[in-house]
Structure formats: C-alpha cells, structure tokens
Amino acid sequence: MTAETSMRDAVVIGGGLVGAAIAWGLARQGLKPLVLDEDDLARRASRANFALIWVQGKGARAPHYARWTLGSARSWPGFAEELTQLSGIDIKLRQPGGFTLCLSDAELEDNAATLAGIRRDTGGEGASFEILDHRRTAELLPGLGRAVVGSTYSSEDGDVNSLRLFRALHVAMARSGVSYRAHSRVETIHYSGGLFRLEGPWGTVEAQKLILAGGIDNGRLASMVGLNVPLQHSKGQIVVTEKLAPFLAYPLGTLRQTDEGGVMIGDSEDTVDTSPRADPAINAVMVRRAIQMFPGLADVNMVRSWAGFRVKSRDGLPVYEQSAACPGAFVAVAHSGVTLAAAHALALAPQIAAGPLSRELSPFSTARFHVQAAA
C-alpha cells in the first residue's frame, strides 16, 4: 500500500460493531470519518458475539449502566429500521422478551435477587421482570427439560442477526461517506496543535477527532492519547449447531436459535486462558446445561465452536471518555457491542461530533478506576 497523508474530520480506529456504529453515527451528523481496521486474523469480538440485545441482569450496583443499556434497547427499533432502509439488509431484530433459565433453586434465587437489586438501584426505572416456575416457563418454551426449575423473564430483551448487523453497518458506512480501510494497524499517535497524526506501515493520516474503538487493543491505543484504560482478560466460548426448524420463539441468556435455524450455546467466561482454542471441557459443561434445558438438543450436531475475547474494562462496565490531555480523542470500550449499537450510533456519536460528552456518560470515565487506585 502506498504511503499517503490525508486530513480527516474524524478517524475511528476499529471496524468492529462498536467502531462501525460510531462511525456511521458520526456520518449521520455530517462527518466523513475514516475507519482504520486491522488484518483479517486480528482478534475480533464482533465475530464471536452472542447477538443478544440484552437488558436482564445488566447494571447491578451500576444504575447508570442499567439506564444506558435500557435506553439502547429501547432505541433499537428505530435504529434497526434506519439501518435496514439504508443498507437494504434485514437484520432480523426481534424483542419478544427473553428468559434466563435456572437449573437449580439457588441459581433462580441469585438471579431474581440481582434483577430486584437493579430495579431498586434505578428507582424502578430498570427493566421489569417476572419470576416463572417450571410449569409456566414450559408453557412458553415447548420442549423445556425438567431440570429447569424456573426462569426469570424480562420483556425488554431481544436479539438480532449480528452477522447481518455487522454487514449492514459496513454497507451503511459505505453509503454514508465513511471510508473503511483494513490492514491498517495504527502504530503511533501524535497530538499537536489540536490535530492527531496516525502512523503505521500503511501510511499516515491526520484527523481532527479521533475515536478509539479498537476492542482489546484499546489499552495500547488509549495510552498514546494520555488515557489509562484498564482492561481485564475475558475469554468466552460459543457452540453452534446445525440448522433446525424453528423451535424456540424467545432468546435465552445462554441459548438462542438464530433466524437461520442454528442454535448458539454460550457463553462462558474464563479470565485466565489466552489461547484462541475453545476448551473442550468448557464446551462440555455448556452443552450439558443446554441439553438439560432442551433435551431434544441431545441428538443435534454441533457444526462449529469458537472462542472470543470480550472487550471488558476492569469492572466490566463500558468506558466512554474524552482525553483531557488530547482533547478531541475519545475512547469507547464496551463488551455489549450489539446491545449498545443503537446507543453508540444514536446517542454517543452525536456527542462526540458536538464536542464534550454529556453528564449522563460521566460515570463511564476512567476516573472511577483511578480513584480506587489512589484509595
């Protein structure tokens, strides 16, 4: 690739779900961003997600996160409609509510307590939920296994075809004047005179605004604009089955049938292992639980399994912040790239385009980590 220098009103580093949603959101504000992405085999959470638009259980002891998530889920229908119109791709959004199935009374109690706590902490704004016993759950989920003691249900949950979402965002970017360039890992970032200068073996780009959406690479990138974003290691695994005729009308927290028919079973969290290999022992536990939930799955073939690395800050919550040292540089870290896609495009991007982030987002700044560190 030839070296070149060009000036951009905004550069987004990272072409995954977070970067693409923000870039498209910026284009909706009239900017012409450039998205710089890495190679084909870079570690990409957008290829390993579970495709849930999920509210249930999110925001325990973090009411600002509960509100942010709920707000995104509620703006998803409009977001999906606009994206589909622009891209011509049906991303198969459905928000019929979702279940968390529990295989023991203890699981059910823990779960219910978490959801009640979120309701309490948000002053009743958090998603409403119901606790269902086995019989009631089985009425709504035919084929349910008798090992399921009960479930929690929240009407705000849903899912989407995340592969189509990913492609639709890239088509929408292309049709909104966003440039996308793969094989462009950013090695250095210089800031001077209010401008960012990004360099790599592929060339040089200058930008007035810089958005870091580089997933697990955000720690490295943020340090070059004076931000310290502590990330934690979090590996998840997913098992996918062959396509089945539709049998499951609702998404579950750990099991869903895609619109194409395959069943996704996940997801685990391993905070130690860094190998990209899916651990068969973890798959075995996930699959056992899935068979307990729906015994008819015992006969079904797994066709694929993979491991991915979540983009998680140290406390697991998103990070949104503008650098004080390098104003104009923003960082976005979120592991729920699907759920939050609507918020990233419709709420976060306009704030980035305008300048400072809103008060609503201030609890997401990295100050929370550094206060704790000093204490």
Partner: protein, 511 residues
C-alpha cells in the same frame, strides 16, 4: 496380524504412542511402520475399509476390478497387506473431529506450553464420543477435489469425477445415459478412460485447460520427460481422444434443467455450444485436505504451483505443531506413490521423537526414502503448470454462481463484500455466512480466496484463507456433553455459582 477392527469407542485404549488419522497410502504405511517399530499404534479412518480414496475397496476388489482399474490401483493390495500384518490397531468408521493439547489450559495462559508432549484426539466411534491421548499424531487426510464453481453446479446430475470413480471402485457403478466429463487435470482423463473401459457412453470431454498452460509448463518439460507420468499420461490422452469427442479451450460452463440435469452449455474462445446430458462429471485437480491441520493450528503457506494452501513441513513431514506430522497429499499434492514414501518417513520421524529409534538409524533409514520421494516429484512441476485451472473456474465471473453450496452464497454477494473492503476471507465469512455450513468451507475456501485475490489484484498468498476451528466434522451434542468436565470449566460457565450447584446430567435426559 492386526486384531479385529475396533468398533466402539470403549474398545480403544486410553493412550497410544502413535495415532494415525486416515487409511490411504500415507496413513496405512505410516501406521505399519510405527507398529513395526514397536510403537503402540492406532489407525483411525472414516471409511469402512482401508485404502483411502485412491485404493478404495482394495481388499474387496476382484480380479476383474484390478484389471479394469489398472496396476497403480492393484498396488494398494500390498500396502493394505503390510498394514494388516503390522499389528497396528485399526478403527474404521471413526470420525476424528479434534486434535488438541493433552492437558487443559494452565494458569498463566500457557495452554500451548502444556501441549508439547501429548496430543488429545477427540473422535466418534460406534455412536459414542471419546478422547484418547497420543504421543504422536500422523494426519494423513489426503486430498480433496478443488471446487469448480459454475452456474448450476449444485443441480442433481452434476458430480465430481472423483465421486464417479469412488462409485465405480466401491460399488461397481457405471453411469448410464449421456455422460459429459468437464474440467482439467490428469484424473479427468484417467476416469474417462476407466469409464469407457467399463462401458459408459461418454458424449464429450469438455477440457477447460487454458491454452497458455503449455507455454508455462514447457520450461519444466525435462523433469516430466524423465518421469513415470509421461508415458502413462500421454497414452491416456491418446486413448481418450480416439474413443470420444474432446472439446478443448472451454472457458465457460453452465447446466440446464429443473430438478435434474438436462443439458450442459459451454463456451470456448471461438463460440458456444450445448449438449444434452444425464450426468456431468467435473474436476479441476486436487488440493490438500487441510481443514484438519488448519483447525488444529498448524502453520500453512500458499503453494503457487499447486495453487493451494499447504501445511509447513520439515523433512520428516512434521508440522509446526509439535507431535503432529502430515505425510501424503494432505501435506502437499504428490500422488499415491509419494504418499507411501512420505508416510514411511513421517513414521521414522515419529519413532525418533518417541524415543523408539535413534537419530542415526532414523537418518540412515530415511536417506533412500528421501531420494525416492524426490525422484517421484519429477514431472510434478510440469503437471502443476500444465493443469493449472482456468481463472474463470477459480473465481467465477457470473454473479449468479453459487460459491458456498451449504449457505447458498452467490458470487455477486461475495464481490459486493469484497467491494466493501473486507479485511479478508474471515471477515467475508462473517458478512455472508460463506463457509459456515456443515462442509466448513471445504467447497468454497479456495474460491473465496481466489475471488478476493482477483478483486484486489493480489496473490492468494497475501489474501490468506479461512481460519478453522474444531470440530472438523459435525459432532452430536450428547457426545460432546459426555466429555469429562473440570471444576474450572464449570466455573467458567456458571460464573459465581459453585460447582455443587450444577446437577449431574441424568441418563433420562439423554437419547
């Protein structure tokens, strides 16, 4: 003598010094040599009988079959007999779907470091799943036919030439009605000749070999002239030409028919034609069956002459993954005779690594084998260039052509995704589900790489290919669920819940 075939997962030992996967010439020879060298050896194969594709049904073949299929095929009898006499354990109809580190991830993320001495082989046999340990794994997965996409290649009545040959070898099936053979490569003419001998009516051979290939191959002709291929190859060409119509320079193919093949349309530089047909057999060479080696993490590179990704191998046919060797066509296309030799060399390397054979005797035994292997490579460079597939069948120009047969992704959609600037085949796969079906990209990986390369004006080497993951073959969830679990794995799935809160899977839930 080898004992009876092992038919159930529980009949397997929990550990073998060597596990060989695939019972073609490389696998049979490697397993025989390992067992002869004193290593406890297990040969796992998907098919019901030894032989692989090239020596399919070799043990059951009668005199007439051997005569019809020729001396190269008949040689397989000796290969199988040596294996049977070696004492290696044999489990046919076994589906191997993973080869991983023998111990789970350890603290500090050193999962790979823990894997250096043993490998864990996951398989299905007799309907049950099992994981066994192996001191060394020989992957002898052989070759698969290179995908040859064109409009209508999914229509019933279109099969690969290899498929017709397997039907002939295993069940003595001969096509009836009007048969058209299309494509390029030595196997195309071999099959045509075999089918003619068996009494089939071959209406035409549509040869897609690009006319310029002769020029590109010419500099390599000396090697070819000195090779065993030459005499056989030229004779085949002549025989076929005298017995059926050969139409050369074919640059386009399409089928006609609803529900079943009715006719084949073709185009050449000078015009178009159509032929009524009941069966169309297509072939444009073979490529290493590298799904397994790819999925378990062996390093690969793009071989320009073979126009395919092949595993990186050292001169013992050992891969980049310690304890995994890949002899035979799975390590790079070299043919059955070379596969046998490389299987022997890989076995010597494994015996040496297992401490069953000293360095000096291993080197000494390998020396003549290496010489023989090298001599068998003669002529290969010429053939690779002569039968290099036509660009029109590597990267189909017609937008309507199905690229991914499983997910029914068409060339137009692939080109659109390329137009978005996709980073490579893996991002394209995410966009389109191309390669996500049960065949796991075996029939589209090559095409996708070629299309991206053509779109970007880059070499396939720069584009890369799908990164695959186990399972290499579909596996039933109930088998997977029966695998042993660890407290760490339970924690990873159930989070804060303690291990005693997961109920054991009762047998009543299982089918």
């Amino acid at each position: 003598m080898s004992g009876p075939s092992l038919e159930t997962a529980s009949a397997l030992a929990s550990r073998y010094e060597a596990v060989v996967i695939g019972a073609g010439p490389a696998g049979l020879t490697a397993a025989a040599r390992l067992a002869e060298g004193g290593a406890s050896t297990l040969l796992l194969d998907e098919n019901p009988a030894p032989g692989g594709q090239i020596y399919r049904s070799i043990e059951a073949a009668g005199a007439g079959d051997l005569r019809r299929l020729g001396p190269d095929y008949a040689h397989g009898r000796a290969v199988a007999e040596r294996f049977r006499a070696s004492g290696a354990a044999y489990a046919p109809r076994a589906t191997v779907w993973d080869v991983g580190p023998a111990t789970g991830p350890v603290a500090g993320g050193a999962a790979d470091r823990a894997s250096t001495s043993n490998r864990l082989v996951s398989l299905t046999l007799g309907g049950a799943g099992r994981a066994i340990e192996a001191g060394h794994v020989i992957l002898a997965t052989g070759a698969i036919e290179r995908p040859m996409p064109f409009p209508g290649w999914t229509l019933p009545g279109v099969m690969t030439a290899g498929a017709a040959q397997i039907a002939l070898k295993t069940a003595g099936l001969v096509p009836t009605g009007r048969v058209i053979v299309a494509g390029c490569g030595p196997l195309l003419y071999l099959l045509t000749s075999q089918l003619l001998d068996a009494g089939a009516e071959i209406a035409a051979v549509l040869d897609t070999t690009p006319r310029g290939n002769w020029l590109r191959a010419a500099p390599h002709a000396p090697g070819f002239l000195a090779s065993a291929y030459m005499g056989k190859g030229l004779k085949l060409l002549r025989t076929v030409r005298t017995r059926t119509r050969v139409i050369g320079g074919v640059t386009a193919l399409a089928t006609e028919g609803t529900g079943a093949l009715r006719a084949v349309r073709y185009g050449t530089g000078s015009g178009k034609g159509a032929l009524e047909a009941d069966l169309l057999l297509v072939h444009q060479g073979v490529v290493p069956n590298a799904n397994f080696s790819n999925a378990i993490g062996c390093a690969h590179h793009f071989d320009e002459a073979q126009r395919a990704f092949v595993p990186d191998l050292d001169d013992w046919f050992a891969s980049s993954l310690d304890g995994v060797s890949i002899p035979g066509d799975g390590g790079g296309i070299a043919g059955a005779a070379a596969a046998e030799v490389s299987g022997e060399i890989a076995a010597l390397g494994a015996l040496r690594r297992l401490g069953r054979l000293g360095e000096a005797p291993a080197m000494e035994a390998a020396l003549p084998l290496r010489r023989r292997w090298k001599s068998l490579q003669r002529g290969r460079a010429f053939l690779d260039r002569l039968y290099a597939p036509s660009p029109a069948f590597l990267a189909p120009p017609d937008d309507d052509t199905i690229v991914c047969r499983c997910e029914e992704v068409r060339a137009g959609a692939v080109r659109e995704a390329i137009g978005l600037g996709v980073a490579g085949p893996n991002q394209l796969k995410t966009f389109l589900r191309c390669g996500m079906g049960p065949c796991q990209g075996r029939f589209c990986a090559g095409t996708v790489t070629e299309m991206i390369a053509a779109g970007r004006g880059e070499s396939p080497a720069a584009v890369g290919t799908y990164r695959l993951r186990a399972p290499v073959k579909p596996v039933r969830l109930s088998e997977l669920a029966s695998f042993p679990e660890t407290p760490e794995a339970v924690l990873a799935v159930t989070g804060s819940h303690s291990t005693d809160r997961i109920e054991p899977l009762s047998t009543g839930d299982m089918q």
